[in-house]
């Protein structure tokens, strides 16, 4: 299990993470969502032992990870850059990582390499961005660490390769209880890959839920009421946790948290003429959740 306990991370006078608590159970595909600068990459770097927290704990299987060889050996981190170790060929890079990760599987590497078909003896600096990404991903999977951290993992990959990489990750998860933590702005991919996700904003966790339950708890409601002259406001629905409230002519568009039953109960006293509940995509949840926190694209209008 990966844990953050009251973790604070500061960069001089900027607080990147503010007393964050997070638990990622083993075998989970965990998605980290958030606005730019919310602290997603910081969490990944804390888990991989790159950053030392100012306070709190960062634990891998109960052990602090910073400066701990044992704990670090359980984690493989793929960051959002692709320029490291450019002087190596893929074979040399594989041999290098193989020395540090005793569970490294040549078999897995060869299998994945055959699928991707990257040149083994060309320097990585000559690879395209996507090829570099593929190279490091197959090495990361072949290292067979219990935890794999991917920061903007699918950046630079073409659609076909995205599917291949996703399949590789899913296979690895199925084969050996691999815990994958993915940080991405591409919510579709998080949606496809992850079973749990956390949303971060300004160094705090907004929510940390299983995606299925998350989707079932937030609804988009299109409704119209019998009293056409009356103008309804948020305050008229105190029993609903409303993320978004908008009126277009006589139709109200409401994004609210709660089960279908709770929503219908809250609307019933005002005799809705129509009340359609549409499930929200992860992207819409992201936008409306952050809108509540003041992170709203309408500020530009």
């Amino acid at each position: 299990m990966m844990q953050l306990k009251n973790t604070v991370k500061q960069f001089e006078d900027f607080t990147a993470l503010d007393s964050v608590n997070l638990e990622i159970p083993k075998g989970t595909a965990f998605g980290l969502l958030g606005s730019n600068g919310a602290g997603k990459s910081t969490i990944l770097r804390l888990f991989s032992g790159i950053y030392r927290p100012e306070s709190g704990e960062v634990l891998i299987d109960g052990e602090p990870v910073y400066d701990n060889v044992n704990a670090k050996q359980k984690v493989f981190f793929i960051n959002d850059e692709t320029v490291q170790f450019g002087g190596y060929t893929l074979r040399q890079l594989k041999d290098f990582y193989k020395q540090f990760y005793p569970e490294f599987s040549e078999e897995i590497f060869e299998r994945l390499e055959k699928v991707i078909q990257l040149p083994m003896n060309k320097k990585i600096s000559t690879f395209s961005k996507g090829m570099k990404r593929q190279a490091i991903v197959i090495i990361g999977i072949a290292c067979c660490t219990p935890y794999l951290l991917l920061d903007e993992a699918f950046d630079g990959l073409d659609p076909t390769m995205r599917i291949i990489v996703k399949k590789m990750l899913v296979d690895a998860m199925c084969e050996r209880e691999l815990t994958v933590v993915i940080s991405s702005h591409n919510l579709k991919e998080i949606n496809e890959m992850c079973d749990t996700a956390a949303l971060l904003h300004h160094g705090k966790i907004v929510f940390n839920r299983e995606l299925d339950s998350l989707k079932g708890e937030v609804h988009k409601i299109q409704t119209a009421f019998k009293e056409k002259e009356r103008i309804f406001t948020r305050e008229d629905f105190p029993n609903l946790e409303i993320l978004h409230f908008e009126k277009t002519q006589s139709i109200y568009h409401i994004i609210a948290k709660g089960s279908e039953e709770q929503i219908h109960q809250a609307l019933a006293p005002f005799e809705p003429v129509i009340a359609d509940l549409i499930p929200l995509s992860l992207e819409e949840i992201f936008i409306y959740e952050l809108e509540v926190l003041g992170y709203d694209s309408k500020v530009f209008e």
Binding site: V69, F76, F77, Q84, F100
Partner: protein, 784 residues
């Protein structure tokens, strides 16, 4: 935990660094391999071919190793210089954001990461050097025995090669240790800087500033505070920086090693001949130095490691992870610039302006702009205030009492005193070491007395004294007769006080140096301590032996023989004479042993010499500028046995008279040249009597006579009477007359002042002649 630390992950990371920098490592290796082996091969080839040439086995073929030595030296210097770059390459991941991620996420802890990076760079830097040194050894071990077997090898080469193995070992080991220090400084910089640019310039500045700041500050302090010697600075410069250490290593091997084996330094009593370097103090000094450098390297490695451990991954891109190192550099630069103002007061405004420009430019570079510029102005003002305040504090407190600090007798293991002799062997410099408590106590008493006396001299008096000395020096040298005098003596020293250095070696291994300027009476106090001591006698005798052996060796070098000649002739130089043949040549059979016997006799005589003898004995002659006193009966007898005949002034004058030559005599009354309590021809000044000299500076008069043959005939008996008492060497506290005879100084002891007064009465008539008559120096001048 130990097992974790000792896993092979650090070695793998080190190999990664070497692998990533293999092109750079190849270039360094080539430079090293062109360096030492080429120097060695070229130098030894020249030696071998020279020896073959000398043996007439080959002819007409010459080989000059200099171009190859230059190329080799250049390559080696570049390779050694690249050490800081090896450090940068080893730690380069630290200032690249993406590489930091990959490096820090590897299963290595901070300690493993630091030492693996450190080791990776160090292997790139040092291994090629070690290989080149080993190749050098192979060349040396093959070629040197070939040369040494050549019987025709000249003595010079024999001496060169005798300790070559040792010097090569000491030199290469010393350089290796310095390389470790140099590389470690680059590791400290790597731990402290977050960008490549800052890293490079911090490296360069630190290496220049450590010795530079010490040198500048200590130069200013020692220049302005009497007693502290700049020599003292080497304890900082030579022991605390790679650049200073390299200079110190060269000094050790050249000065205490190679040069000590020759008589190249004729004027020093500490020069040895064919003596093992151990006896010159090379090995102890070298060991002390190398241990200090190693300790410093270890300390800096620990510092770099600790700084690295506290460094965070997010510091990448920050110019200085630890801003104190930047402020140390900035302050050091400012102080170095401000030190220029100590040399010339007029520069002070310009120097402050210049330092301000440099300071603010560096601040703008660090801050990448003018952010909080007012803070830079404040810190600059504080820096300048602290620099000047520190300077004032040091001068006011006499370097926090260091000037007057004298270590307790019980803590001293030995004291080394160094001073230039004059009057009796002006060109000899003494370097005497004493260990006995009695002499150590005398030296300390002398030092206390000196400090007390000089402390009581006010600044105004010191200035008056200085001005007066300058004027007198000018006056003295404006006389014609000084020209012949200066042929033998160094005029620049004539009115200068002699320099004197005390070095206390304490039982804890530290050295305490003090340097003073001695006036006549203080010089005599020192001589009073030294005369009759074994150290003094031994030093003079060794010098005598070395100089004489050197003379015959030089002669023999022309014939490429390394044997001393069976027979040789030596010059005994008279200090005074009025004919051009001023030397007496004696002939020796079995020269080497005869010289050693003479040296032994001379040592025995000097051991028995009392201070009274030293003051009042006439010097009957000089051997290689070393005086033979009247009371050196053993030496005189030895010389007579070898054909030496004594010489008297009156007989010389008689000879002058018979040749009808013109004679110039000047007589100085005691009050006109008197140096306080002392009458000493070559020494005119005394520290205690500056006021006396000042008061009498207007009355620099003399009584002069120019005696032609008719006048000489007329006053011959009286002149003979006066000159029969004339002494070239005489030290007394009683006033006595000084006589210049054809440009040479003699003293008439106070007991015979009446004979001089008689001459003065006789000479009144001739007094004014001198002003209108140019003496014929061609016929009367004396050459030494």
């Amino acid at each position: 935990m130990t097992a974790k630390f000792l896993n092979n992950y650090p070695a793998r990371n080190a190999l990664r660094i070497i692998s990533q920098n293999r092109k750079f490592a190849i270039v360094t290796s080539i430079l090293y391999l062109l360096g030492i082996p080429m120097i060695m091969f070229a130098g030894l080839t020249e030696g071998y071919l020279s020896a073959l040439n000398a043996a007439d086995k080959i002819s007409g073929y010459s080989f000059n190793c200099e171009p190859y030595v230059f190329i080799g030296g250049f390559c080696a210097a570049i390779a050694v210089f690249l050490g800081f770059f090896c450090g940068i390459r080893a730690f380069e991941d630290e200032w690249n954001k993406t590489r930091v991620d990959m490096l820090y996420s590897l299963p290595l802890n901070g300690t493993q990461r630091f030492f693996s990076n450190y080791a990776g760079g160090f292997v790139m830097y040092a291994v090629p050097y070690v290989i080149s040194v080993v190749i050098g050894w192979v060349i040396l071990l093959i070629m040197l025995p070939m040369i040494q077997k050549m019987e025709t090898l000249s003595i010079e080469y024999t001496e060169d090669y005798k300790y070559f193995y040792l010097y090569y070992f000491l030199g290469t080991l010393g350089l290796f240790v310095l390389m470790c220090l140099y590389y470690t400084i680059s590791a400290v910089c790597a731990s402290c800087c977050g960008t490549l640019f800052e890293n490079i310039y911090t490296n360069i500045l630190l290496n220049a500033l450590i010795p530079g700041t010490f040198a500048a500050v200590l130069a200013v302090i020692t220049y302005n505070i009497d007693g502290l010697d700049f020599e003292y600075s080497w304890d900082f410069i030579g022991f605390m920086s790679p650049v200073g250490g390299l200079i110190y290593l060269c000094y050790l091997i050249l000065d205490k090693g190679m040069d000590a084996n020759y008589i190249s330094n004729y004027d020093s009593t500490y020069c040895g001949y064919n003596e093992a370097p151990e006896t010159q103090g090379l090995i102890p000094a070298y060991l002390r130095w190398i241990v200090c450098i190693l300790l410093l390297t270890v300390a800096l490695t620990v510092l770099a490691w600790k700084l690295y451990q506290h460094r965070k991954a997010e510091h990448v891109g920050k110019p200085f992870v630890y801003s104190w190192i930047y402020y140390i550099i900035l302050t050091a630069i400012t102080i170095c610039i401000l030190c220029i103002s100590a040399a010339e007061d007029d520069f002070i405004i310009a120097v402050i302006l210049f330092s301000a420009i440099v300071y603010f430019v560096m601040e703008v570079i660090r801050k990448r702009g003018f952010k909080k510029f007012w803070l830079s102005v404040v810190t600059y003002i504080v820096t300048v205030a602290v620099a000047f305040g520190g300077y004032i504090l040091i001068t006011v407190t006499d370097a926090f009492g260091r000037v007057s600090y004298i270590p307790a007798l019980a803590t001293i293991s030995s004291a080394e005193i160094t001073f230039s002799g004059y009057g009796t062997g002006r060109s000899t410099s003494y370097d005497l070491t004493y260990k006995d408590r009695e002499t150590l106590q005398k030296i300390q008493d002398f030092q206390k007395n000196y400090l007390r006396n000089h402390d009581s001299l006010t600044d105004e008096l010191q200035k008056l004294s200085h001005d007066y000395h300058s004027q007198l020096y000018y006056d003295y040298n404006s006389y014609d007769y000084s020209s012949s005098y200066s042929d033998y003596y160094d005029n620049y020293n004539l009115f200068d006080p002699t320099s004197f250095t005390i070095t206390y070696h304490t039982i804890t291994g530290t050295n305490i140096h003090r340097s003073y300027s001695l006036y006549d009476d203080e010089y005599l106090e020192i001589m009073q301590i030294c005369i009759g001591t074994d150290a003094f006698a031994e030093a003079n005798a060794r010098l005598l032996k070395n100089r004489l052996l050197s003379e015959i060796k030089e002669y023999n070098n022309q014939t490429h023989s390394y044997e001393y000649p069976a027979n040789a002739s030596l010059d005994i130089r008279y200090f005074y004479s009025n004919d051009t043949e001023s030397t007496r040549r004696i002939y020796l059979t079995d020269a080497e042993n005869t010289i050693k016997s003479l040296s032994a006799v001379y040592q025995k005589d000097l051991s028995a010499l009392t201070f009274e003898n030293y003051c009042t004995d006439e010097i009957i002659g000089y051997i290689q500028s070393l005086p033979v006193y009247e009371s050196c009966s053993g030496t005189v007898s030895f010389l007579k046995e070898h054909g030496f005949s004594e010489f008297s002034l009156t007989s010389a004058l008689a000879n002058q008279y018979s040749n009808k030559n013109t004679l110039e005599i000047r007589i100085f009354a005691p009050e006109n040249y008197r140096s306080g309590s002392l009458n000493y021809p070559s020494c005119v000044f005394s520290s205690e009597h500056e006021m006396y000299l000042k008061e009498n500076s207007e009355s620099y008069q003399d009584i002069a006579m120019l005696l032609d043959s008719s006048v000489m005939t007329k006053y011959y008996p009286e002149l003979m009477e006066m000159l029969s008492h004339a002494r070239r060497h005489y030290i007394s506290s009683e006033p006595c007359y000084l006589v210049y005879l054809n440009g040479y100084e003699f003293l008439i002891p106070e007991a015979y002042s009446d004979t001089v007064q008689n001459i003065i009465k006789l000479g009144d008539y001739h007094y004014y002649q001198l002003n209108f008559y140019e003496p014929n120096y061609n016929s009367t001048n004396v050459y030494f």
